[in-house]
């Protein structure tokens, strides 16, 4: 019998599976579970986008595209960044990736050497630290606080910067907290980074889902675009998760390096998805607006309802998550979620799945119909009153 464990690379072997996995298995083992636990939109991909994909197949567009993506798509992406953020990228500064996920992967792997420290804003999406570790880097958590509306503050950043700091991962609008960084907040971060050699990986996958104001990117502040790798994609804005399509935009010398990893690991992003993405980015502004309006309505309802039943939450202004505190129940995040699941059949995600600083919180997704959300909140209320 082979001892496979001995054969696995040490870095991979030591990598922890996502903390959500255990919960996923528990929830799946039960029947009649109402979930507020997913991280993907409930809307269908706009019909014209699906038609564009079908049409590309009918026309036989089934070959590889250029490694970095179709010229038409890269141009459309550069135009979109120019229109939304007022920052100019040449289409050659764009790589079309397999989801924002691959963008994050190639950005980290192309920059991080063994021993480099990477500052990771927490709580956050689960993939950054494992990829940093896989590159031999050292993830350094920047623990944001509820009392700061889960924003990254200049003080916190300054405190953690060392001579070995290579990169700052800035994920706003944030999954799981729903926090956003306003221009003023970003200006303070930029001021700290000025004069250093620290690069920023700005994961803005939820940028289209910003409420009560326009999304601001760190690339809009001073000369920050020069030191930023911008990651975005089609999954959240256009409800295209399964199409696996995202992009990075960055200074040309960085793109040149990232492209090497991309071409050896991926070759090119799926052609059918690229055709769909051209339609999405050029003809779906109205769909995006409609989805955002509906998310916003649910968000307002949910924040009010949760505060009403005694789960304090600050008002999230981005993504589609609410991140209420459950500290007053006296339960840990995991206890709360396990009992809610086992006793009331509602699945939400414990906050500590997104970093230790998420302890004492739960993530509730409102990527569900309002009717569904209302039923789930009723059950959560029942649970809280019976703890």
């Amino acid at each position: 019998m082979m001892d496979y464990d001995k054969l696995i690379s040490k870095k991979c072997f030591e990598m922890k599976p996502s903390g959500i996995r255990r919960f996923f298995d528990m929830a799946n083992a039960r029947e009649g579970v109402i979930s507020l636990g997913v991280g993907e939109p409930d809307f269908q991909t706009p019909w014209n986008v699906r038609q564009a994909a079908i049409s590309s197949l009918e026309r036989g567009k089934t070959k590889y595209t250029a490694n970095s993506g179709m010229a038409e798509l890269k141009t459309a992406i550069a135009d979109k960044i120019q229109k939304d953020l007022g920052v100019t990228y040449d289409p050659s500064q764009v790589i079309v990736t397999v989801g924002g996920s691959e963008g994050i992967d190639i950005a980290i792997r192309s920059i991080v050497d063994p021993g480099d420290e990477v500052l990771v804003v927490e709580p956050c999406f689960v993939c950054y630290s494992p990829i940093v570790s896989l590159s031999g880097g050292v993830p350094v958590p920047l623990e944001t606080k509820a009392e700061n509306d889960f924003k990254l503050t200049a003080d916190l950043l300054r405190e953690k910067i060392t001579d070995r700091t290579k990169m700052l991962i800035l994920p706003f609008p944030n999954n799981p907290t729903g926090a956003v960084m306003d221009r003023k907040d970003l200006e303070e971060i930029a001021a700290v980074l000025e004069g250093t050699d620290i690069l920023v990986l700005s994961d803005e996958i939820y940028s289209a889902l910003t409420y009560g104001g326009e999304h601001t990117s760190i690339i809009q502040i001073g000369d920050m675009a020069e030191r930023t790798i911008l990651v975005n994609g089609f999954s959240k804005a256009y409800s295209m998760t399964g199409w696996r399509l995202g992009y990075v935009a960055a200074p040309a010398p960085l793109i040149k390096q990232m492209l090497k990893i991309h071409q050896y690991a991926i070759m090119c992003s799926p052609t059918v998805s690229q055709y769909a993405a051209v339609e999405a980015i050029t003809a779906c502004d109205k769909d995006v607006e409609k989805m955002r309006t509906e998310y916003d309505q649910r968000r307002r309802w949910l924040v009010k309802a949760l505060n009403g039943i005694g789960l304090d939450c600050f008002e999230p202004r981005g993504a589609f998550y609410v991140f209420p505190s459950i500290k007053r129940t006296g339960l840990s995040s995991e206890e709360f979620c396990e009992r809610l699941l086992n006793e009331y059949d509602v699945a939400v995600v414990p906050g500590n799945a997104f970093g230790d600083s998420g302890e004492g919180f739960i993530r509730i997704s409102y990527a569900y119909s309002l009717k569904h959300i209302m039923t789930a909140v009723e059950r959560i209320n029942d649970f809280i009153t019976h703890i």
Binding site: F24, V33, S35, G39, R298, W301, A305, A347, A353, L370
Partner: protein, 158 residues
């Protein structure tokens, strides 16, 4: 359209406090705005959206295209008024195109509808011809899919 109307159009059972939260208005404003809409007739009523296939297996619905000769001075209104007065007539629209009035009619069986067209509708003064189409299956109504959509997403995902 006003956000309040959009919300009510989608779900008329939302409470005033829910509407207030969702539309970012005060409860007082929601109440007075709804009252104003009801008063000026912008809101004509509140109905449940029912899948008749499940509610009443025998129910029959027909769409009838009616060609008419408009009367001097009163145009199409007089005839439209007469038609919409009949029981079972759910909607009457004046249309552009190859016919004039589109009438939706519901009945308990085919015969009832056939008799209505033959005896009541066709015989009206001014009706030139009718063409009756029976509804076979309703896929989508007022923006809502009639078959329940299955959520294919996992229960938990990062």
């Amino acid at each position: 359209m006003d956000q309040l109307l959009t919300l009510l159009k989608e779900n008329a059972r939302l409470s005033v406090s829910e509407l207030a939260a969702m539309a970012a208005m005060s409860e007082e404003d929601v109440k007075s705005k709804i009252a104003a809409y009801e008063k000026d007739g912008t809101i004509r009523g509140y109905q449940a959206l029912i899948n008749e296939e499940l509610a009443d297996k025998n129910a029959v619905t027909a769409f009838i295209e009616v060609k008419v000769t408009p009367k001097a001075e009163r145009g199409f209104d007089e005839l439209a008024n007469t038609i919409m007065g009949f029981d079972g007539v759910e909607s009457v629209y004046l249309m552009s195109g190859s016919f004039d009035l589109a009438v939706t009619l519901s009945g308990t069986d085919y015969k009832e509808i056939a008799l209505f067209v033959a005896r009541r509708l066709s015989t009206l003064d001014g009706v030139v011809s009718t063409s009756t189409h029976f509804l076979l299956k309703k896929y989508k109504d007022r923006g809502v899919y009639m078959d329940t959509e299955i959520d294919e997403r996992g229960l938990i995902a990062p």
